[in-house]
C-alpha cells in the first residue's frame, strides 16, 4: 500500500521533523516500509504560462508554433499537443528546466527553434493522462512555479501489505496517521465530517439485509443534483500517487475515502439502484462486473441487489449495469461491513481480489461505515456545493462487536518486557493509539478502540505489543535469561540418525540426498515400477506427484539413474519419511526410514548386495551393539528381486530389507550397471535397547584354528549349517569365520575356520580334534561333507 506524507499531514502536524527517519521508525514500530519515493523533485523551472498565439506549422499538420508568456518573458515554442489554443493556461518548462527525467534545452523541431515545452499531466508525473496539455485554471497568474500551485512535491512510501494483515485499522491514511501521532507524541486531528443528523427528517432508503450472518452493517444515503464531473487536481494527484486511477468525481471520491479511512464504499447510480437487498441466491447465475467480465456467481457469494436484480458482488466489485456514468447526477452511496471470511472466499473463487475485498478480508471495524458517509458528504459538498442529500442516513446494523476491556498490572508489564517502562509512558502510548486507559494503583484497565477490537487486540499480551513497539525495541536494555542448571539428555532419535549418517558417509562413502515425500510417477514409469496405492495429496502440483511414497526404493533408484554419469561406482542414501498406508482410524502410518542404494558398473550385483548387508551389520553393531539376522523373503515391492530380497531383523523385530533388482527394472535402470537397495526403519531401530558393552579379560593362551573345507548340497546355506556347532561350549569355540566360498562345476564349496581357545591353557590339536569330529558328524546330515 502506498502512503502519501502530504495526506498524513492533513491529520498530524509533522512540522520541524525529518520525514525519512520517521518513516524508518514506522518500519520498526508498525509495519515494514519497502520503499520511499520522492515525488515532484524532478521538476525544475516548470511554471504556469499563457499561450498568447497559435500559428500552424508550415510543414506539419500536427505541430503548431506558439508564443508563450511565462511571466519573465515570452517564449517561442513548437508544440504537437492536440488541445493547443490561444489564451490557454498550461504548465510550461522553460529552456534549461527539467521535467519527466529530461533536461529541456533549446532545440530545433522541424526547422523552428523551441525554447521550452508545454506539459501534459503525465509529463508532470501527476497522472497517467497524456492525451494533451494540462489545462490550468484560467484564473491562475502566469509565472508561478507548478510545485507551488499544486502539491506535486510529496514523499510517498510503500508498506508491505503482508505486514498489515492483522491490522484492519492501517488500511487507510487516517489509521497510519494515528501511528505517526503516537510515534511523535503529536495530536491526531479529528476527521472533518458532515453532521448526518441534519437529514433525519428525510425519507429512509429501503435497505433489507437478508443474509444477516454475512453482512454486519449496511449504511446508505442518497444524493442528487451532482453537477461536477471531474475531481480537483489535488485529489487526483493523491489518488495517482497512491496507485489509484482518476475516473470521475464520484468514483474518485469512493476511492479517496477508501484510501483515507480504509472503508470501501460503492456509489450506485440511484436512477438505476434506489433500494438495496443483501442476500445470496440458491442457484448459480452469471453476472457482469464493472471490469466487463462475466462472472459465475455461486450460492455462497453474497450479492447486493436492487428490486431483486443483482447490482454488486458484496465487498468485491460493483456490476457494470449500475455503474456511475458521465451523465450520472444522483447516487446511492453504500458504506457497509461484510464478513471477512466470506469476502475472502468469494474473491478467491471469482479470482477477483480488489482493493475493497483486500480490506474486508482484514475484518474491518463496522463502526466506521457511518463516519465514512459523513466524510464523503463533507468532501463532496466542498467540491460541489449544489449537491443535495435526498434521504436520511439509513443504517442497518446487524452485528456489534463486544467492547473489549483488559486488565493488567505493572508487574505483568515488567515481567513480560524485562525492562522498566514508566506508568506515564504506558498511559501516554495507549492514549495516543486510541485506547482508553485508566490506572488504579498498580493496575491498569484498558478499553480497546473499536478499530482494534474486531480480532486484533483481545488479550493483555496484545497490550504489551502496543506499549513496546512504540517504546521501540532498539531502546530495550537486553539481558540474559536466568534459569536453574539442569542437564539435558540428547534424544536417542537424533543420536541414532547422526551416527548412522556418519557411518554411511565416512565408512561406506555414500552420498546423502534429499528428495520428496511423494512418489514421482513419471520417473517410476521410466523404471517400470508401478506407484503403490497410498494416502494422496488433495491438490498435487502435478498428477505425477500425487501419491505419498510407501518406501524409499523408487526414489533412490531414480536418483541412481539420474546420476549414472557421475561415477562408475557410487551409492546414495536418504533419511526421510514414508507412509505405510493408514491405520483403522484413517491416520497415516508415517515412518522415518533410512534408504540406501548402490550402483556400479565395476562391481557385480552380488558384491553390492553383500556390501549393503555388511552396512546393516555395521550400523547394528556400532550404534546398538546388536547383530542383525537376514532371511530371504518374498518381495513386497515390484522392483525387488524375487529370489534376492532379504529381511532385516534386529532383536526379533523385522525392520527393513535389502534387495537386488527385478530383472525388468534392472534392465531399465542401466544396461551395463547393477544396483542394490536397502531400507531400514529408523524409528524402530532407534527404539532398540542397545547391548551394553561388557569387558572380558583376554585369554593369556594362544588358541588354535581348524579349517574345514566343505562341499555343500543344493540349497544349503551357511545359516542352515549353524546347528552343527550350536551346542559346542562358546568358552571353547570362540568364533566361526568364513575363509572362502566358491562354486565349481555346479558344486558349492565353503571353507570355514573354527577358532578354539581356552582361558586355562594352550590347546593342542589333539584336544580339540574330538570336538571337530563331532561338528563334522553333525554337518553331514545338514548337507555338508568334508571335501576330498
Amino acid at each position: 500500500m502506498l502512503i502519501s506524507m502530504n495526506w498524513i499531514r492533513d491529520f498530524v502536524d509533522l512540522s520541524g521533523l525529518e520525514l525519512e527517519p520517521l518513516i524508518r521508525r514506522f518500519t520498526l514500530s508498525t509495519a515494514e516500509v519497502e520503499d520511499i519515493f520522492h515525488m515532484g523533485t524532478d521538476l525544475k523551472d516548470v511554471v504556469s504560462a499563457r499561450i498568447l498565439s497559435v500559428a500552424p506549422h508550415p510543414d506539419s499538420k500536427k505541430l503548431h508554433l506558439l508564443r508563450v508568456d511565462a511571466g519573465d518573458r515570452v517564449y517561442d515554442v513548437v508544440c504537437g499537443a492536440p488541445n493547443v489554443r490561444e489564451g490557454l493556461l498550461v504548465p510550461f518548462v522553460k529552456e534549461g528546466g527539467r521535467v519527466a527525467g529530461q533536461d529541456i534545452a533549446c532545440a530545433a523541431i522541424a526547422g523552428y527553434e523551441s525554447h521550452g515545452m508545454c506539459c501534459s499531466e503525465h509529463e508532470l508525473g501527476i497522472s497517467a493522462d497524456h492525451s494533451g496539455l494540462m489545462e490550468l485554471d484560467p484564473q491562475t497568474p502566469v509565472g508561478v512555479d507548478l510545485t507551488e500551485l499544486y502539491p506535486i512535491r510529496d514523499i510517498v512510501f510503500e508498506v508491505d501489505n503482508k505486514s498489515l494483515t492483522n491490522r484492519p485499522d492501517l488500511w487507510g491514511h487516517y489509521g497510519i496517521a494515528r501511528e505517526f501521532a503516537a510515534l511523535t507524541g503529536r495530536p491526531l486531528k479529528p476527521l472533518e465530517t458532515v453532521a448526518l443528523s441534519a437529514f433525519d427528517a428525510l425519507e429512509p432508503i429501503d435497505i433489507q439485509v437478508l443474509d444477516r450472518d454475512l453482512c454486519f452493517r449496511y449504511s446508505g444515503i442518497k444524493v442528487r443534483n451532482i453537477t461536477k464531473k471531474v475531481s480537483p487536481v489535488e485529489m487526483r494527484i493523491r489518488l495517482f500517487y497512491c496507485g489509484s486511477r482518476a475516473i470521475n468525481l464520484l468514483a474518485d471520491l469512493t476511492n479517496y475515502l477508501m484510501l483515507e479511512m480504509g472503508q470501501p464504499m460503492h456509489a450506485f447510480d440511484s436512477a438505476k439502484v434506489d433500494r438495496i437487498e443483501v442476500r445470496r441466491f440458491d442457484t448459480p447465475f452469471s453476472f457482469q462486473t464493472l471490469d466487463g467480465q462475466e462472472r459465475s456467481i455461486d450460492p455462497n457469494t453474497l450479492m447486493i441487489c436492487s428490486g431483486g436484480q443483482p447490482v454488486a458482488v458484496a465487498g468485491i466489485m460493483g456490476g457494470l449495469a449500475s455503474e456511475i456514468e458521465d451523465d450520472t447526477d444522483s447516487l446511492l452511496l453504500e458504506s457497509a461491513n461484510f464478513d471477512a471470511v466470506s469476502v475472502r472466499r468469494s474473491a478467491v473463487r471469482l479470482g477477483l481480489r480488489t482493493d475493497a475485498s483486500m480490506r474486508y478480508e482484514k475484518t474491518l471495524d463496522p463502526e466506521m461505515t457511518v463516519p465514512a458517509i459523513g466524510r464523503f458528504l463533507k468532501l463532496l459538498l466542498d467540491i460541489d456545493p449544489d449537491a443535495q442529500v435526498v434521504s436520511r442516513l439509513t443504517d442497518v446494523y446487524v452485528k456489534h462487536y463486544p467492547t473489549v476491556t483488559l486488565q493488567f498490572d505493572k508487574a505483568y508489564v515488567d515481567r513480560y518486557t524485562g525492562i522498566q517502562i514508566s506508568d506515564g509512558e504506558i498511559l501516554t502510548t495507549l492514549g495516543a493509539l486510541g485506547f482508553a486507559a485508566a490506572q488504579d494503583g498498580s493496575g491498569f484497565t484498558v478499553t480497546v478502540p473499536s478499530w482494534r477490537a474486531t480480532k486484533d487486540v483481545t488479550i493483555k499480551a496484545d497490550i504489551i505489543e502496543e506499549i513496546t513497539r512504540i517504546y521501540g525495541y532498539d531502546n530495550f536494555q537486553i539481558s540474559t535469561t536466568v534459569s536453574p542448571l539442569a542437564p539435558r539428555k540428547k534424544s536417542v532419535e537424533n543420536k541414532t540418525e547422526n551416527f548412522a549418517k556418519d557411518i554411511l558417509v565416512q565408512r561406506y562413502r555414500l552420498h546423502e540426498i534429499h528428495s520428496y515425500i511423494w512418489a514421482d510417477a513419471k520417473k517410476s514409469r521410466e523404471l517400470g515400477i508401478p506407484v503403490e496405492d497410498n494416502v494422496r495429496l488433495v491438490s498435487p502440483q502435478s498428477p505425477d506427484n500425487e501419491v505419498l511414497r510407501t518406501n524409499m526404493g523408487p526414489t533412490l533408484l531414480g536418483v541412481l539413474q539420474e546420476n549414472r554419469s557421475f561415477a562408475a561406482d557410487f551409492g546414495v542414501f536418504e533419511v526421510g519419511r514414508v507412509c505405510r498406508g493408514k491405520r483403522p482410524d484413517g491416520s497415516a502410518i508415517e515412518r522415518k526410514v533410512l534408504g540406501a542404494a548402490l550402483f556400479s558398473r565395476v562391481r557385480g550385483e552380488r558384491e553390492l548386495y553383500y556390501a549393503l548387508l555388511e552396512t546393516v551389520l555395521t550400523l547394528g553393531l556400532e550404534i546398538k551393539g546388536l547383530e542383525p539376522s537376514f532371511a530371504n523373503i518374498p518381495p513386497a515391492h515390484s522392483f525387488q528381486h524375487p529370489r534376492n530380497t532379504a529381511q532385516i531383523t534386529f532383536a526379533g523385530q523385522p525392520m527393513g530389507w535389502v534387495c537386488t533388482l527385478h530383472p525388468a527394472v534392472a534392465a531399465r535402470l542401466d544396461r551395463r550397471g547393477v544396483a542394490a537397495v536397502l531400507e531400514l526403519d529408523l524409528d524402530a531401530f532407534s527404539a532398540l535397547e542397545p547391548q551394553e558393552l561388557r569387558y572380558r579379560e583376554p585369554s593369556r593362551f594362544p588358541g588354535i584354528d581348524i579349517d574345514l573345507s566343505l562341499s555343500l548340497a543344493e540349497g544349503v546355506t551357511f545359516g542352515s549349517l549353524q546347528p552343527a556347532w550350536a551346542q559346542v561350549d562358546p568358552a571353547l569355540l570362540s568364533e566361526v569365520t568364513l575363509v572362502d566360498t566358491f562354486s565349481l562345476g555346479g558344486q558349492r564349496s565353503m571353507t570355514l575356520r573354527f577358532g578354539f581357545s581356552s582361558r586355562e591353557k594352550t590347546l593342542s590339536k589333539e584336544e580339540v580334534q574330538p570336538v571337530v569330529d563331532g561338528i563334522v558328524a553333525q554337518l553331514a546330515p545338514l548337507g555338508a561333507k568334508l571335501r576330498a
Binding site: 520498526l28 514500530s29 509495519a31 505486514s163 494483515t165 492483522n166 471477512a340 475472502r344 515481567r415 513480560y416 518486557t417 488479550i459 499480551a461 496484545d462 504489551i464 505489543e465 513496546t468 525495541y473 530495550f476 536494555q477 537486553i478 539481558s479 540474559t480 535469561t481 534459569s483 536453574p484 539442569a486 539435558r488 540428547k490 534424544s491 537424533n494 549418517k501 554411511l504 558417509v505 561406506y508 562413502r509 552420498h511 546423502e512 540426498i513 534429499h514 528428495s515 515425500i517 494416502v535 495429496l537 488433495v538 491438490s539 502440483q541 536418483v559 539420474e562 546420476n563 557421475f566 557410487f570 546414495v572 519419511r577 507412509c579 484413517g586 491416520s587 497415516a588 508415517e590 522415518k592
Partner: protein
C-alpha cells in the same frame, strides 16, 4: 715370528682394501680368522715357542686378531651403507602430485548446517527434537493459535491429504506435543522438513527445512529474547551480529517480530544484497502466545517463553552461495557430493 706377523698384517690391509663385496669380506674373514685361517694358524704356532716369547708373541698376535676383526666389521658396515645408498639411488621416486582417485562420501548441506546449529543449541542446554511430517490440523494450526479461517489453511498454501491430515507447513506443528512431553521449564529445538503448496522456482521450493526453537521458563522476557537471538546468531555466523526487531504478525506469538540482522555482506553500510538498508530479514520470533502455552498444558500466568524459526534451507543457501534452491532436493551428486565434511 714377528716379521711373519707384520707381513700378515700388511697382506691383510692390502687384501681388505681390495675387498668390494660382502662375499670377499667373508672370504677374508675365513682366510684370517677361520679354523684354518692365517691368524688362527699363528696362534696355533705359539705352542712351539718358549714361555717368555710366547707371552710377547701372544700379545702381538691377539692385537692383530683384534685389528682384523675390527677392520672387517668396519668394512662390512661401510659396504652395507654403500649398498643401501645404491638401493636408494636406484629406487623409484613416487609422484606425490598424481591426482588421487579417492572416492569420498558426502553429507547433504542441510545436514551440515543443521549439525552446526544443533551443536550451538545443545551447548546452551537445548534438546533436539524430531517430529513427523504428516500431521493433523490440530497440531499444525489449532494448537498454535491459527484460527479456523486463516488463509494458511487454504488449499493454495497447504498440502492436504485425502485422509484429512496434512504435510506440516511449519515446524511449529511440533510445539504443542513438545510442551506436553516436557512441560516447563523447557528448551528445545526442532528441525524438520516443511511443505508449502506453491510453485517452485530458483528461490521457492514446496519442500524445505526449518529449525524452530523455544525456551520457556518463569520470567522470560522480550529483553531476554533479544539478548538470546543476538548471542545465538553471533555463534551461527561466527561474528558479532547486530539484531533489530520489527513488529511481525504470527498467530503463535504475541508480540511477534521479524528479526533483521546487520547485513553480512556490507556490515550495515548498505549494499545491493541488503537493498541498501544495511539489514537482512532473517527470521520470525516472538513471545509464545498465551493460548499456545495453555494449549500445551503450561500456565501462561506462571510461565512465559519465546520461540523463533530459522530457515534452515535459507541459511544453507546464504552460507554456501547456493543460487537455485531446487539443487538441494535434486539428488544431483555433482552438486551434493561437494559437501564432504562438516
Amino acid at each position: 715370528m714377528k716379521e711373519k706377523i707384520e707381513a700378515l698384517r700388511a697382506r691383510f690391509e692390502a687384501e681388505l682394501s681390495a675387498a668390494k663385496t660382502s662375499e670377499t669380506l667373508e672370504k677374508l674373514r675365513v682366510g684370517y680368522l677361520g679354523k684354518k685361517g692365517s691368524v688362527t694358524e699363528l696362534l696355533k704356532g705359539l705352542k712351539d715357542v718358549g714361555a717368555e716369547e710366547k707371552r710377547e708373541l701372544g700379545q702381538h698376535i691377539n692385537a692383530l686378531k683384534k685389528q682384523v676383526e675390527e677392520r672387517l666389521a668396519a668394512q662390512a658396515e661401510a659396504l652395507k651403507t654403500a649398498e643401501e645408498n645404491l638401493l636408494i639411488a636406484s629406487a623409484e621416486q613416487y609422484d606425490v602430485t598424481l591426482p588421487v582417485n579417492e572416492a569420498q562420501g558426502s553429507y547433504h548441506p542441510i545436514t551440515v548446517v543443521q549439525r552446526q546449529l544443533e551443536e550451538i543449541f545443545t551447548s546452551m542446554g537445548f534438546t533436539v527434537e524430531d517430529y513427523p511430517e504428516i500431521v493433523t490440523d490440530y497440531e499444525c494450526f489449532e494448537a498454535v493459535n491459527v484460527p479456523k479461517d486463516h488463509p494458511a489453511r487454504d488449499m493454495q498454501d497447504t498440502f492436504w491429504l485425502d485422509n484429512g491430515q496434512l504435510l506440516k507447513t511449519q515446524t511449529s506443528a511440533a510445539q504443542n506435543a513438545i510442551m506436553k512431553k516436557y512441560g516447563a521449564p523447557l528448551r528445545a529445538i526442532f528441525p524438520g522438513r516443511c511443505f508449502r503448496n506453491e510453485a517452485t522456482d530458483a528461490s521457492h521450493e514446496n519442500t524445505f527445512f526449518q529449525m524452530e526453537g523455544m525456551m520457556i521458563d518463569k520470567n522470560i522476557s522480550i529483553s531476554n529474547l533479544i539478548y538470546f537471538m543476538k548471542t545465538m546468531l553471533s555463534q551461527v555466523f561466527e561474528r558479532d551480529i547486530q539484531v533489530r526487531l520489527r513488529p511481525g504478525f504470527f498467530p503463535f506469538v504475541e508480540p511477534g517480530f521479524e528479526l533483521d540482522i546487520s547485513c553480512l555482506i556490507c556490515g550495515g553500510e548498505g549494499c545491493p544484497t541488503c537493498k541498501h538498508s544495511g539489514w537482512l530479514e532473517l527470521c520470525p520470533c516472538g513471545m509464545i502466545h498465551p493460548n499456545v502455552l495453555r494449549e500445551g498444558g503450561i500456565d501462561p500466568e506462571e510461565y512465559t517463553g519465546f520461540a523463533f524459526g530459522l530457515g534452515l534451507t535459507r541459511l544453507v543457501m546464504m552460507k554456501y552461495g547456493v543460487k537455485d534452491i531446487r539443487d538441494l532436493n535434486s539428488g544431483n551428486l555433482k552438486a551434493l557430493s561437494q559437501f564432504k565434511h562438516e
